[in-house]
C-alpha cells in the first residue's frame, strides 16, 4: 500500500519531466516544422510584416515597369540574438563569479573554521542563495543600473575609448535604407554588462556553497601530505583544487545553468532589445527575458510557437548543463534547496 503510494509519487517526478518536454515540444511544433534547425542561426526576430521598396545589391531602389518594385518581408523568428544574449551574459557572469566563489570556498574550508566564522559566513552565503531573484532585480534596477549609468560606464568610456582597437566597445552599426551608419552607444546602465553582473551576484552563492562542499570532502591526508612536504598554504590549496576539479567543474556548471535560466533580475536590467551587438554596453535580451516580455502577449500562432521553441531550447540547454553537472558532482549531498 505505502509502497505503491511512494512508487506513484516517485513516478510523478518522472511524469513532470516528461510533461515538460512533451508539452513544450508539442506546442512548439509549428515553429519547429517551419524553421527547423535554422531557427538557432537566424538573427531576425520581427513579429510584423514589412512592405518596402526592393533594393539591389548597390543599395539603390529597383525600378520595374510600373514604378518601384516592392518586396514583402513576412514575420521572421530567429533565436540567435537571445541565444547570444544568454551565452554572453552567462559567460561574463561566470568569469566574474567563479574566481570569487572558489576563493571564498577555500576560505570557508581552510581558514574560516579556525577563526570560528565558518558558521555565520556560511549562513550569509546561504541566505544570499535564498533571496528571490526579484530582489536582485529591484536592486539592480535602482542601484546598480544608475551607478553604471552615472559613474562606472562614463569612467570606462573615458579610459578605454582612446585605446586603439577598443572603438567597437562604444559604437554600434545600424543599417538604414541600405546604408550602414555608426553611432555612439548611449550608456544607460541597462545593458548586457549590467545583466551579466547581476547574474554574477546571483550565482555566487550556489557556486560557493557547492564548491565548499566539494572541497570539504577532499581527504585531509591530501592536504596534510602536501604540507608535510613543505608546500605553502596556497600550494596545498592548488593541490586540493586539482584533486577536486571534476566536482568543482560541476559546481561551475550548476552556476551556469542557473545563470542561463534566470529571468526576473535579468529582464529588469538588460534593456530588452533583441539585437546582437559586439559591445557589452548595448541593450540585449536573453531567452528567459524574451519569454517574460513576450509570451503573455503573443497573439499570433507562429509568434507563440516560436516563443515555445525558445522555451524548449532553454529547457534542453539547462537540462544538459544539469545532467553533466550532477554527473560530475556525483555522491554530493543534494543542493536542491539552494
Amino acid at each position: 500500500m505505502l509502497r505503491w503510494a511512494c512508487r506513484l509519487s516517485g513516478l510523478v517526478i518522472a511524469a513532470m519531466l516528461a510533461a515538460l518536454i512533451l508539452v513544450l515540444a508539442n506546442s512548439a511544433l509549428p515553429a519547429i516544422r517551419k524553421f527547423g534547425a535554422g531557427f538557432i542561426t537566424s538573427s531576425e526576430w520581427r513579429v510584423n510584416e514589412i512592405e518596402r521598396p526592393l533594393r539591389g545589391p548597390d543599395g539603390k531602389v529597383v525600378m520595374g515597369e510600373d514604378g518601384v518594385v516592392m518586396e514583402i518581408l513576412p514575420p521572421a523568428f530567429g533565436a540567435l540574438p537571445v541565444i547570444y544574449g544568454t551565452a554572453a551574459t552567462s559567460l561574463i557572469a561566470l568569469v566574474v563569479a567563479v574566481p570569487l566563489s572558489l576563493g571564498a570556498a577555500l576560505f570557508l574550508v581552510r581558514v574560516a573554521p579556525r577563526l570560528r566564522i565558518a558558521g555565520p559566513v556560511s549562513f550569509l552565503v546561504e541566505f544570499l542563495a535564498a533571496i528571490p531573484s526579484l530582489a536582485f532585480g529591484v536592486w539592480g534596477l535602482f542601484v546598480l543600473a544608475p551607478m553604471f549609468q552615472n559613474s562606472v560606464a562614463p569612467l570606462l568610456r573615458r579610459i578605454l575609448e582612446p585605446v586603439p582597437g577598443l572603438h567597437w566597445l562604444f559604437f554600434e552599426k545600424i543599417t538604414v535604407a541600405g546604408r550602414i551608419i555608426e553611432r555612439p552607444i548611449p550608456l544607460n546602465g541597462r545593458d548586457l554588462l549590467t545583466g551579466s553582473l547581476i547574474l554574477a551576484v546571483m550565482i555566487l552563492p550556489i557556486i560557493t556553497s557547492v564548491s565548499r562542499d566539494v572541497l570539504r570532502s577532499v581527504p585531509r591526508i591530501q592536504i596534510e601530505g602536501t604540507l608535510a612536504l613543505g608546500a605553502t598554504w596556497w600550494q596545498s590549496c592548488v593541490a586540493m583544487l586539482r584533486y577536486a576539479r571534476s566536482g568543482l567543474l560541476g559546481a561551475v556548471l550548476l552556476g551556469l545553468a542557473r545563470a542561463a535560466g534566470e529571468t526576473m533580475a535579468v529582464t529588469m536590467v538588460i534593456g530588452n532589445n533583441n539585437q546582437i551587438s559586439a559591445s557589452p554596453f548595448a541593450p540585449a535580451q536573453t531567452m528567459a527575458s524574451l519569454l517574460a516580455n513576450e509570451f503573455g502577449e503573443a497573439t499570433d500562432g507562429m509568434h507563440r510557437a516560436a516563443l515555445l521553441y525558445v522555451a524548449l531550447i532553454l529547457l534542453v540547454m539547462s537540462l544538459a548543463f544539469n545532467v553533466v553537472a550532477r554527473k560530475l558532482v556525483v555522491g554530493r549531498p543534494s543542493h536542491a534547496v539552494h
Binding site: 500500500m1 505505502l2 511512494c6 509519487s9 516517485g10 513516478l11 510523478v12 517526478i13 518522472a14 513532470m16 519531466l17 515538460l20 508539452v23 513544450l24 506546442s27 566563489s101 576563493g103 571564498a104 576560505f107 581552510r110 581558514v111 559566513v121 549562513f123 552565503v125 541566505f127 544570499l128 535564498a130 533571496i131 528571490p132 531573484s133 530582489a135 529591484v138 536592486w139 534596477l141 535602482f142 551576484v201 555566487l204 605553502t232 598554504w233 596556497w234 600550494q235 590549496c237 542557473r258 535560466g261 529571468t263 526576473m264 519569454l291 517574460a292 503573455g296 515555445l308 522555451a311 529547457l315 539547462s318 537540462l319 544539469n322 553537472a325 550532477r326 543534494s334 536542491a336 534547496v337
Partner: protein
Amino acid sequence: MSLSFKESRRRTASAFMYALCAASTLAIVTVLLMVAGYLAWIGASSLSWNLLTTVPTGDVANPGGMRHAIDGTIVLVLLAAMLGVPLGVLAGIYLSEYPEEARLTGPLRFIADVLTGVPSIVVGILGYELLVVPVSRLTENSISFSGFAGAGALAFIMIPIVARTTEEMLRLVPRSYREGSLALGATRSQTIFRVVLPGAFGGITTGIVLAMGRIAGETAPLLFTALGSRLLTHDPRQPFPSLTLQIYTYATGPYPEQRRLAWAGMLVLLALLFVLNLAVRIVAARQARGRLH
C-alpha cells in the same frame, strides 16, 4: 641565495592568494549586505501599517497597500504545499526506503536533481500550456488564469526539492533503527511511519519550510498562471495576486508611490524569508546538538 629568494617568493605568493581568498569572501558578504541593507533601508522608510492591511485603490498618487498580495502569496504557498508536500515526501521515502527498487529509484533521483535546475520561467510556460489553456477549455472559460494554476506551477518547483531533502534526511536515520524495528516484527510500513519518519521529522520539516520559502519568492512561474490581481481574493479559481507579481509591476512602473510600495513589499518578503531561514537553522542546530548528547 637564489633558493631562499625562491622560497620567499613562494611564501609571498601564498600570502597573497590567502589574502585574495579572504577578500573574495569579504566581497561576497559585502554584496549580500549591500543588497539586503539597501532593500531594508529604503523598504523600512516606506513600511506602514496600511501596507499590511489595505488593498490597491487605483489612484497612483495614493496607491493603498498590499494586503491582497500578502494574502495571495500565503494562499498560493499553502496550496502548493498541499500538493507538493505529500507527493514530495512520499517520493522521498520511495527514493530512500526501497533500495531493492534501485533500478527505478536511481534514475528518479537523478531526474529530481535535474528538475531542480529547470528555469522557473519554463515552469511558468508549462503551467500556462498545461493548467491554464486546457482548464479554460474544459470549464468553458469560467476558470482560466487562476490561483490553482499558480499553485500548480509552484508545486512543480517544490516537489523535487522536498523529495530530495526528505531522502537525504531519511538516510541520516541509522540503519540499526530500521533493522531493530523489523526484527521486532513490525512491517515495513510500520517501520517507516513509527521509526524512520519520526527520526527524520525535524530535518524533513526544515526542508519543507525552506522549499516554501523558495517558492514564496518566485515570480516567473506565476506570470502566465496566477497572472496577478489588484483585488483581495481567497478564491483560487480567480486570477490570483502575489507579493512578487505586485512588486514586479510596481517596481518596473514609473510611479514613485508605487515604487515605495514595491520596496516595502520586498522588505516584507525578505524579512519573512530571513526569519524562516534563521528559525529553521536554529532548530536544526539545536536538534543536531540534542542528538549528540
